[in-house]
Symmetry: C2
Subunit: 473 residues, 2 copies
């Protein structure tokens, strides 16, 4: 049988079935971007005539990681909004106000570089102007699950009890942009790009606009990707406006169903999380981000216990400070154990599933990616098992590959990433990104942002400004 | 002025004073292993005649990290004892029983490789046979703060209410080994090696032997490095034996003072932690390890609030699954925020101090290392600021170097490590370690351990065995 590519590896985690689907000595045959067979490595050269053979002799091959929710553009503000309460207002605001679209686009490239270097092959990016990201995803070869942010509320500082006024023209403009983005990009790049609909959160859109967005998404068979009950601010707005908490209200207006990808649930309790799970909506947990900026682990355990599909995301580097899914896998395990003082909760294999097959199912790509099975797209990564953090390799009587991947690996152990069978990263070099040039460019952006943000940064006089005065930065 | 070495860097965190001691454009002059001056980079070539100049043009230089408590030998069992209650008995035991000294020595080399690659320059290693570690430390050039474990209780499985019987001959043998190790190695390798005294824990030694160990240490001006109130098992033993909880009893017998380095305090409450702090004893927190194996963050915040010197350690790769201090810095911040639901607690700069200057003071090396100041040993590391995870570099109005180091860096950003002014690691290559040969050797050890452990592993039938049957590993 003739195929485009034959991948040979001593260890594979297919993530098929309900575990990790470990197989030893595997030949994975890929043709026209799809996996056509996973057989034994022995005798594979006779069974297949491959145009190319990718020999990974001391590697662990597994599905490419999926980052189901992140804002790549915010990467340009990495490290500027931690260790503070109200991080968005007192940490991020002065810098966010100083950011231009070209800064965001440059930040997106940096985030994509960091993510792909650490084995992410599907990016659930979310932003206000996604043109450059679409082009970058097409060029770099990564898979993009991309969302246009829609809000009907102007960006400015609101008092804690001030009801946000709606600006219908803004909402209309952003929904039109979402529709246009969908028309131009959905299905492009050999199907690697999918466009979702992104109402920012229940408090940022009027009910009519929320319903209009929902209809637009459902008509097109597209998902709705939305922050849900992400903080007490949102809860207060919805209580003032409708006399309900956000999840209850979203249920009433018909928003909770399988079309919805609900992100964060930071302010939800276990009962509310279970309600979302039972509705068929998916949940995306961003443990590193919400842990760092709020000191909270959202109720993912209750969501999962109620049978919900829960995936993982990195959120944003301005808060979480990175776009590395190895961080999220470890964080969800450790935070869950700590929250419940039980080391048996959230074992490594479960986190690995959340970063792969469960994430794929959560965002509606379960038939395409997330596991290595015949018929699926050939999105895979290779982990070098000769790196110190992956050693030793114990195989019998117990394999330590999965615990080492989740608890020990840091990201750079991933030495190769492929999407649709095409290698997009090798030894830290990502196709289509000139690392040196990008480094100079992000630092030039940072200087400009700093100059424009300086006055407001000093006026706000938040934790960052105090730490600068105290010699703590 | 003639010096051995001139280090030029655009950004330095000296960790002097009570913050992070940031300085821009620094020339650090090193002579005979000591820092003799930190001046401006401008004009440094005229002020010094240096035998060697180390130019680090896009790097951040800071003190080498200190890992105050780890068991390097356990690295040979990485990934075999997670996600289980009673990890030591049901996870580790079958494998630990199958380990030979040469396995441990090989594991130690692996742990040292991993640690030094991630910027650790001082290793607080702790084990039963430290000869090979002493030799490795001497050869590799890292700084060793090494402890001989002393116990008076035989290794076997004890029932939950069974009082450990003492075996005085075993205690005597191990104390003699500690004394001999001290005589042969303390102060060796140009003073890089210090030997401590290591009673394993209050429950593993009789009071007379504890007192004898203490006298031996105090006479020599050496520290006592001991696990303290590390679990309910220890608490139960001490309650049965003396009718007190361990910290109370250790206070009564005069063990709590500035000679003691108290590790873990897992089972201590805030009041007990404060009691240890007020005694002058130091505390070493191993957040990643205790979080993973127990689901607990020990009361380090209460210890620090009471004025105690608290450092950080990685503990052991069999539990924590790594010897990377970047993991511990991030873990202590995130776990503290989560425990108290407050993102302002344990900011990045504090964790960086705990891994450097506060750690040095905690273990009694505060006059030698932990900060870059004239008169101290030249132990330093260089972080490549052109790696994705450290970008962008924001300098004004707020510097993001420290948040990025603690929250974003993963370890491999450290591209150079020096001890006593001598480079011991560059681009992941550690002097005196052949990575390829070591890799083969650790995997050979793993195969042997697996063969010898297989029967007991199946008999114990713990979480690992069940996960193997269920396809989750």
């Amino acid at each position: 049988m003739r195929v485009d590519l034959l991948v040979l590896a001593p260890h594979v985690l297919t993530m098929a079935g309900d575990g990790v689907g470990y197989r030893a000595g595997v030949a994975m045959a890929v043709d026209r971007g799809r996996i056509v067979d996973l057989g034994d490595a022995a005798g594979a050269a006779e069974r297949y005539r491959a145009d190319e053979t990718l020999s990974l002799p001391h590697h662990l091959v597994l599905p490419g990681l999926i980052d189901a929710h992140l804002h790549t553009g915010c990467c340009i503000l990495r490290g500027l909004a931690q260790d503070t309460r109200h991080w968005m207002m007192y940490g991020l605001q002065p810098f966010d106000n100083a950011v231009r679209q070209e800064d965001r686009d440059t930040g997106s490239l940096l985030a994509i570089l960091e993510a792909v270097q650490a084995g992410t092959t599907t990016l659930g990016d979310y932003g206000e102007d996604m043109e450059a990201v679409c082009a970058a995803v097409e060029r770099i070869g990564v898979r993009g699950h991309l969302t246009q942010l829609i809000r009907e509320v102007e960006r400015r500082v609101y008092g804690p009890d001030e009801l946000y006024p709606f600006t219908p023209a803004l909402g209309r403009q952003l929904l039109d942009r979402n529709l246009s983005l969908y028309d131009r990009w959905n299905g492009r790049a050999d199907g690697r790009i999918r466009i979702l609909f992104g109402p920012q959160a229940a408090d940022f859109l009027s009910e009519p606009l929320l319903q209009e967005v929902r209809r637009a998404a459902v008509e097109r068979g597209a998902r709705i990707h939305m922050h849900v009950q992400q903080g007490d601010r949102e809860t207060r707005q919805i209580m003032m406006r409708y006399g309900r908490r956000p999840i209850a209200w979203l249920g009433e207006i018909g928003f909770l169903d399988e079309h919805l990808i609900a992100v964060h649930l930071t302010d939800a309790d276990d009962r509310e999380a279970a309600e979302v799970a039972r509705s068929g909506a998916a949940m995306i947990l961003c443990p590193g981000s919400i842990g760092l900026i709020d000191g909270i682990l959202p109720p993912a355990a209750a969501f999962q216990a109620a049978g919900g599909r829960c995936g993982l995301g990195t959120d944003q580097a301005a808060g979480n400070n990175g776009t590395n899914m190895f961080n999220e896998m470890k964080a969800v395990c450790l935070f869950t154990k700590l929250k419940h003082q039980d080391p048996e909760l959230m074992p490594a294999w479960r986190a690995l599933r959340m970063a792969t097959i469960e994430n794929a199912r959560a965002i509606g790509l379960g038939d395409q990616v997330g596991s290595l099975e015949a018929g699926k797209r050939a999105d895979f990564i290779a982990v070098d098992l000769r790196r110190a953090s992956m050693l030793p390799v114990h195989l019998e009587p117990m394999r330590n590959l999965v615990p080492n991947l989740v608890y020990s690996a840091r990201g750079p152990e991933v030495v190769l990433a492929a999407v649709d069978g095409r290698v997009i990263m090798r030894d830290g070099e990502v196709a289509g990104i000139d690392r040196e040039e990008l480094c100079d460019r992000v630092n030039a952006c940072a200087r400009g942002i700093g100059e424009r943000a300086a006055r407001e940064f000093r006026e706000v006089d938040g934790v960052g400004a105090r730490f600068m005065r105290m010699g703590r930065l």
